[in-house]
Each structure stands twice: as C-alpha cells, then as structure tokens.
C-alpha cells in the first residue's frame, strides 16, 4: 500500500463513538472473557507453574519432567494410555462406521433405524464407570462368562478397551452418521450411469466423502479414552494409565508437582487431536453445496439384511452392558444370591455415608443446566452479533473452543492448584458446590457454545443493525427476537448440560468434599469398597434420571415450542 492512500497522520485517527449499546455489549464480552480467563486459562496456567516449582515453591525448571521420564513405571503409563486408546479407536470407529452406514445408506425401515439410534445413545447417559462395573460382572473373577476367557484376565487392558469401546461408541456413531448423511445423490447417479459397480462406488465416493468424519471420529475417541478416568479406575487393576496416574500422584501421594507434570502430558494428545478435529470439522461443513441432491438409498436385499443383523448384534451387546448394571442393582449378591431386592438403592440413597451424593448431583446438574445455558448463549451472542470486536472476538472464540481440548481431570487439577491457593481471592469458592457447577459449565462449554453459535448464525445478521436504525436498544431485540428464535437451541443446551453433568466424574474427582460429593464420585468409592450392588444402583439411578428428565424435558419443550414457535410452521397463503 502506498502512503498516499493512508489518512493524514499527526493527530490520532478519530474513532467512532460507542453508543450505550456498544458499551453494554463490550462489558458483557469482558465479563465472558473474565469468566473463561479465571476458570479455564488461569487454572491451566497454575498447572504449568506447579510443574516447574518444587514443594517449597522454588523454580526447578524441567527437573520434574526429567524425573518423570526417568521413572519407567510412569513412562509405561503414558505408553499404555496411547496403545489402549489406539486399540479402542480400531474397534469402536469401524463398528460405528458400519452402523452409521446402515442408518444412513440403506432402505431399512425407519422405526428400526430409530430404535438402533436410541439404543446406541444410551452409553451417553451413564458415567463411564458403569460399563466397567458391568464388564466386571460379566467377565470378572465371579463373571458369568469368565469361562470364555480361560486363563485370561479381564482386569487391565482388555477390560479398559471393552469398557471404552462401549463408552465411545455413541460419540463415534453420531459423528459418522452426520458425515454419511451428507451425501450428494448426483455423484451416485453419475457413477451408476457410468456403470460403476457398487463396491467401486463405495471405495471412490462413499469412503472419500466420509474421510473427514472418520478422522474426526478417531480423534474424538482417542481423546476420550486417554482422558477418561472412570473405566480404568474400576477395571484397570494394576494396569497403569496416565489419567489414573494423575489421580494417584495428587490424591494418593499429594505430589502436586508430579501430578502437574502428568497433567501437562495428558494435555498433549488432547490438544493435538483437538486441533486435527477442529480443522477437519470445518471441512465437513464446506463439503456440501446448496445444489447437492439428497441421496436416496435403494433396497439391496442381502447387504441390507447383513447390515441389519450387524446392528442388532451391536445393540444386543450395548443392552447387555447396561442391562447387567441394572440387574446387579436389583439382586442381593452376584453370583450367590439372585433374589430381587431394593436394598442397594436404599443403601446408596439413605444409609451410606455418601447418601447425599445423588441429591447433590441433581442440584449440580440442575444449576449447571440453567446457569450454563444462560452464560453460554450470552457469550455466543456477543461474539456473533457485536461489530468491531477485533481481537476480543478471536480470543473469546479460541477460549470457548479450547475448553473441549482440556480433559476434565486436568481442569479439576488446575482448579485444585489455582483456587486452593491461600492467596487467591476466589479461595472461598473452594470446597463449595459452586465450584463444581463452574467446572461443569467450563468443561462442557465448547459443545454448547458451538450449538449456540450455529443457531445464531442461522438468523439474519442485520437484526442488530435494523434495531440500531430504529433506535431500539439491542438487548430489547435480543429478548424479543433473538432468544425466541433461538429457543430450541437454548433448550437443547440446557438438556445437554444436565445430562453430562449428571454423569461427569473426571473434573469432580478433585473438587468434591464429603458434603458436596457427587453420585459419580460415590459410585467410584462404593465400587472400591466392594459395594458393587450400591454402586450399580447409583449408576442405574443416574441413567434413569437422565432418561426421565430427557423425556419430561422434551414433552415440556414441545408444549413450550408449540406455543412460541408457531411462526416456524406457517406456509405462504
């Protein structure tokens, strides 16, 4: 650029005066940024600080890291985490791909597909501990199917892999269903017109077009397994993995420095796969043009039957897993006394010293749902609809999506180090229910944020400009137009927050006190104490609660939406 095109320098370049609305929007933006800075960035930073300090607070550089890498047992945990995660990817993703293919590319009857999809999503409702408990019941020392394993033990890698395949299956399935349903029918018509055999259509059109979905599914599954804590804790036995190591270092040995080092290591695979996933997801969106013609599958008898059979098989295994947990919760003692009883529920809810856990979880989930959807939607709104935010917009968006890359365990660890510090003015939050709620909101921020952003991007970008020209304050338009139009998305965010915080274990494991203990944490302790029945009862309760709440919620929202969204379904007349 030549200097001639620049405005005359000398005086500072004038700037547009901010209206009251713009001050308010920027204040909201700063509030949201302060929230994420305090509850996401600062805790992560204090992990980093702890990793380079010794117990007296002296700077020791990378001494802890080198100590870590010279301890073979610790190093093995990292190696174990990686290979177990890879094994899970190799089982979970192909299985999910076949099921997703059956759900999207076959002419199997609609109700069948809907049922498969519903069953496949059940694992999302349960804490990751449930599947581990279940597999112990099936294949453990007293397991029904123990004989199938011969001398082979389920405790350790095999158990973790099984449990994590169960836990990650719905995540992979959802991503692959999305990827496979974005099919351009014209490509298949063109291929058929060129007499391309079906197998070649699959290899040259279907696979390449679902490439990004596959990559995304692999990274999501990998990250999930590396950062999950529940399943390895229950079924891992002596098999060490990174996530359990963090817990052991911090809770067991109170070695915060080493805990911080392992926490940092845990961040690495997450951040890497998160970056891959993030770039790849953008490409999925760009793949389909407005001119694409939806693909309508044609019936293929043998292939359809085989695929249906496969889905039935997968569903049976999923049901067998959740079913075993439910069954364990209502019988006296596996495998000796199979009489029906509700004792385990009574014990878990009223008699044990962790009897408050279930109600605590309900409270936390409820408050998280309400608070989370308000914060996330407001945050997304100011990012999306305020002009001239410059770097603030990018910084805020980056933080909002970064939270997904931080494993719950690492976030919880950061909270311990940051908020428990006596000099922290927010120290009063420590040991409260509030910090549990905040950790949930932050930990599950990204998905909700992206849902809100998508909804906001679908509405006209000029609403704010129009209201400014009509001299109507933006918050009035926000309440009168933006919120009603985005209501379905907001309600969905609330439901999501409720369900995930009911089942969440990893962040809470560092943050609970005997008074604020959550159901998922209690399940872990009950299981460790050998109270498998009550543990299963509590896990089942979480699943049942989430199901009931989801059903009630969808009924309530249906009524609400029918009342407020009538304009959506009108036709020209």
């Amino acid at each position: 650029m030549t200097t001639a095109t620049l405005p005359a320098r000398g005086r500072a370049a004038p700037r547009q005066r901010w209206s009251r609305d713009e001050w308010i929007a920027r204040a909201m933006m700063l509030g949201a940024m302060a929230l994420l800075l305090t509850f996401l960035i600062a805790p992560l930073f204090s992990i980093l600080v702890n990793a380079v300090l010794d117990k007296e607070g002296h700077f020791v550089g990378l001494a802890h890291f080198s100590a870590y890498f010279q301890t073979p047992s610790l190093l093995r945990a990292a190696f174990n985490s990686v290979w177990v995660a890879l094994a899970v990817v190799l089982v979970s993703v192909p299985t999910a791909f076949v099921c997703a293919y059956a759900l999207t590319r076959t002419s199997l009857p609609g109700p069948f597909k809907a049922t498969v999809r519903l069953i496949a999503l059940i694992p999302l409702l349960a804490p990751s501990l449930l599947s581990a408990i279940s597999f112990v019941q099936w294949f453990g020392n007293q397991g029904v199917l123990k004989f199938l394993l011969g001398d082979f033990s389920i405790y350790g890698a095999p158990g973790i892999i099984l449990a994590e395949v169960y836990n990650t299956f719905p995540h992979a399935l959802m991503i692959l269903v999305t990827a496979l349903s974005l099919a351009d029918g014209r490509l298949y018509e063109a291929a058929a017109a060129l007499r391309t055999p079906p197998w070649r259509q699959f290899l040259t059109i279907t696979l390449p077009s679902s490439k990004y979905g596959l990559i995304s599914a692999c990274t999501v599954v990998f990250t999930y397994v590396v950062s999950d804590f529940g399943a390895p804790k229950v079924i891992g036995g002596n098999f060490n993995v990174l996530s359990v190591d963090v817990y052991k270092q911090v809770v067991g040995q109170l070695n915060f420095s080493m805990g911080a080092v392992v926490g940092m290591l845990l961040l690495v695979p997450s951040i890497v796969s998160f970056s891959i996933d993030y770039t790849v997801r953008r490409k999925i969106k760009a793949q389909l043009t407005a001119r694409s013609v939806p693909f309508t599958p044609k019936p293929r008898r043998v292939a359809d039957a085989l695929l249906a059979l496969f889905c039935v098989g997968v569903c049976c295994m999923l049901l067998a897993t959740i079913g075993m947990a439910l069954y364990t919760s209502v019988i006296k003692l596996w495998p000796y006394n199979l009489t029906f009883t509700l004792d385990h529920y009574r014990f878990a809810l009223f008699e044990s010293d962790m009897a408050d856990a279930y109600t605590n979880s309900l409270k936390v989930a409820f408050v998280t749902a309400v608070l989370g959807s308000v914060i996330v939607f407001l945050g997304a709104y100011v990012i999306e609809k305020t002009r001239n935010l410059g770097w603030m917009r990018n910084a805020m968006h980056l933080m909002a999506v970064l939270s997904m890359a931080v494993p719950g365990l690492v976030l919880g660890l950061g909270y311990v180090m940051f908020f428990n510090h006596p000099a922290n003015p927010l120290n009063f939050l420590y040991n409260t229910m509030a910090i549990l709620v905040i950790s949930m909101v932050i930990h599950y921020y990204t998905s909700s944020h992206l849902t809100a952003v998508t909804a906001l991007q679908q509405i006209d970008n000029e609403f704010e400009a129009v209201s400014a020209s009509l001299k109507v304050p933006f918050f009035k338009t926000f309440l009168r137009v933006t919120v009603p139009v985005c209501l379905p998305a907001i309600l969905e965010i609330g439901r999501y927050f409720f369900v995930v915080s009911m089942a969440s274990l990893s962040a809470a494991i560092f943050l609970y006190t005997p008074e604020t203990i959550l159901a998922s944490v209690a399940i872990m302790h009950l299981d460790q104490a050998g109270d498998v029945g009550p543990a299963a009862a509590l896990a089942s309760l979480i699943v049942v609660t989430s199901v009931v709440v989801s059903v009630l919620y969808s009924l309530a929202t249906r009524v609400l939406l029918a009342r407020t969204q009538a304009w959506r379904h009108l036709r020209r007349g």
Binding site: M1, T5, L6, P7, A8, A13, P14, R15, Q16, R17, W18, S19, D21, E22, R387, N388, I459, D460, N461, E462, F463, A465, V466, S467, A468, S469, L470, K471, V472, P473, K476, T477, R480, V481, P484, V485, T564, Q565, A566, W567, R568, L570, R571, R572, G573
Partner: protein, 377 residues
C-alpha cells in the same frame, strides 16, 4: 426581521443544505483499501444509486453512511450535522437490507411498529401509523401474518414500511431487489420509486444491476475499485461515460482501435473520423480507443453523401427477440468488427442475415474516445 421572511429564508436554506455531504472518505481494511477519496453530495429528496461490480466498495460506503462500518478517515455531514463518528443508533436513517431482516417471530404489524413502540407513541396512534404504512406498501390486510407467510416481494415492502415508520431523514437500500425473481423485480422497481417520490425521502440505493440504476434513480454514482468513476443522471452516464470502465459497465459498447490525428480527429483503418464528443487531448499518433454503442449507427435512408458511410459484412446474427445483434466487420475500419443493434423489423426490411453485405453509417457524434492505455482489463 419579518417572521415570514425568516421562515422563507430558513426553508430556502433547508433546500440548499445538502441531505448528505461526504468528504474524503477512505476505508482501509487490513491489507487493501476498499474506498479511496470519496467525495459526494446528496441532494434533498433525490434518489441516488451506487452502481458498480461486486467488490467495488459500494456496500461499504453505504454501511459507513449507516454507521455500521467505520471509515478510516473522512467526514460525513447529514443536513448540517456532523455524523462522521456517531454510532449507528444516533444517526437518522431507515435501512432495508438485501435479506430484509424481518423479525421472523413477530407479525407484520409488530415488525412495522418495531421502531414506533420505542418512541412513546400511544397505542392507538401506533396502530393508525402501522395501518397507514401497510396501506402505502399495498399490504393493508397483512398485519396479522408472519413474514414466512409472505412472498419475497411482499416481505420487501414490509421491510420498506418498517424503515419508513419513524419518518427518517434518509432511506438506505442495500441491494433491495437482488433476492427477487426477475418479473417481481421489475414491478417492485416502479413501486419503490413511486413510494420514494410520494414520501419525498432522500434515498441511497446500492445495486450492481445497471437497469435498476438507470430506471430508478435521479442520479447514479458509478464506482469501481473503491473510487467513484462518474456521478451523473442516468442519461449522462449512458450517453457520456466519463471512463472506459463506465462505458463498458453501463450498457453494451464496441471498442475500435485508432490513432489521434490532432484536435478531435482520429483515424480508424482507412477512415478519418471527427468525434465532437471527445474531451481529452491526445498526442499526435497516440493509440486511442473509440467507444461506440451498438445502436449508434444509421442503416436506413443512406445517401451517397452520408458521412462515415461504409460497407460491412454480416458475420453473425444473434437473435434475442424483438432486438437482434449483428456482428459485422468492415474493411474500411481495418477489418475490425462491431456488434450492432437492429430491431427485428429492421432485420427483415434491410435483409440482414449472415454472409450478407450491407451499408451503414457511424454516428460519429456519439463516439467517446479514450487513450488505449485506459482500457479496462
């Protein structure tokens, strides 16, 4: 001083004060400059069009006027009030976007009343005003419907009614017709123009459609690459384009290569042409381009003495309905070819068809001359 005289003076002054004075507007984005040195005066009550290809900066300029975008430097004065650095909500305008931006969950009446509710009007007054506006927009019974129940053209008019509801001093239209079907577009052109004249509101419209600009506006501002190429009435723009870009962008045009012979005389092939309309001064022998509209030819009643008469060979005929384009080449022009408009009747009467030789004469008085270096890429 006498009261009436003061009033008359104030009124006259009001007429004399431009609706908008734009001075030295620059807009630089990170690594390119979207607008350079924009000076423009908008008169009270006129309909002004910003016309140009996409990326020429016309929408950016409109958004700067609206306060939705901030200029890097320069000033804007609206009816004597400096609004250069005011936020959008403190400026005085109504705006209609390409997408209409109607609130989908509010009824048509609620949409139109949106800006009125804020102004402390009584309910009955608001209702009356909404009814008046909807009647003006030709949608007197649509008040209870939702936007999705209306056609695109109807939504367009609702957006217009909403923008006019608060009686703003300026109306901004951002490509208001580009989302509509061709037939609806033509009808709405006339309707917007009628409404604009009826209300008497100063209006700026952004468009990339030359027909829209030619048919609707009092004056057109032709823009390209962030600068104003020409400002003028539609007729001036078409007949006396100020630059090769304008000549090419508005209407069709033929370009003939030639050399300057001094004064207003030019040589094309073997032909020497005197172009009264040429304005620049050219070096002797300088390469020039002569711009001739396809209709600027005489084909009937030619006599031996008709100036610039030449024989041409019809190479190709493109049939477009009532109007046809004949591509012809002439030895007298050094073999250069021209596209000429003929009506279908002329085609029959003059027997114009491929391979035929016919006689025509150039209307040299209409030819615009620019030095060849200025031809648009």
């Amino acid at each position: 001083m006498d009261m009436t005289i003061t009033k008359m003076l104030a009124g006259a002054l009001d007429q004399a004060t431009p609706a908008l004075e734009i001075k030295g507007i620059h807009k630089n984005f990170e690594n390119f400059s979207a607008l350079r040195d924009i000076d423009l005066t908008v008169r009270q009550g006129e309909m002004l069009c910003f016309l140009g290809p996409s990326g020429c900066g016309k929408t950016t300029l409109l958004r700067i006027i609206a306060g939705l975008e901030t200029q890097t430097s320069g000033s804007i004065v609206q009816s004597g009030r400096d609004i250069s650095w005011l936020p959008a909500s403190e400026r005085d305008y109504g705006i209609v976007f390409q997408s209409y931006a109607l609130f989908p969950n509010l009824t048509i009446a609620e949409n139109v009343a949106y800006g009125l509710v804020n102004g402390r009007m009584r309910k009955a007054e608001i209702q009356a005003r909404v009814a008046e506006l909807l009647a003006m927009a030709g949608l007197p019974t649509a008040g209870g419907k939702y936007p999705s129940q209306l056609s695109g053209g109807q939504q367009q008019r609702v957006a217009l009614a909403r923008a006019l509801a608060t009686n703003p001093g300026l109306l901004l239209l951002d490509e208001p017709l580009s989302a509509l079907d061709a037939t609806v577009r033509v009808r709405l052109r006339a309707e917007i123009r009628r409404l604009q004249k009826q209300v008497g509101i100063t209006t700026i419209m952004v468009t990339h459609d030359q027909e829209e600009a030619l048919s609707m506006s009092d004056r057109i501002v032709v823009m390209n690459h962030g600068v104003i190429e020409q400002v003028g009435t539609p007729m001036e723009i078409y007949e006396r384009p100020a630059s090769p870009f304008v000549a090419n962008f508005v209407g069709k045009v033929n370009v003939l290569r030639g050399q300057a012979l001094g004064g207003k005389r030019f040589r094309v092939g073997q032909l020497e042409i005197e172009c009264e309309a040429s304005e620049g001064s050219f070096r002797l022998g300088e390469d020039v381009s002569l711009y001739l509209r396809p209709e600027d030819r005489v084909a009937e009643h030619l006599e031996a003495g008709t100036p610039y008469r030449l024989g041409v060979l019809v190479n190709k005929v493109e049939f477009l309905g009532g109007l046809c384009i004949a591509e012809v080449s002439a030895e007298a022009l050094g073999g250069q070819s021209l596209g000429l408009h003929f009506s279908l009747n002329q085609m029959h009467d003059l027997g114009i068809c491929e391979g035929r030789r016919i006689d025509i004469a150039l209307r040299a008085s209409r030819i615009r001359v620019f030095s060849t270096g200025r031809d648009p890429a």
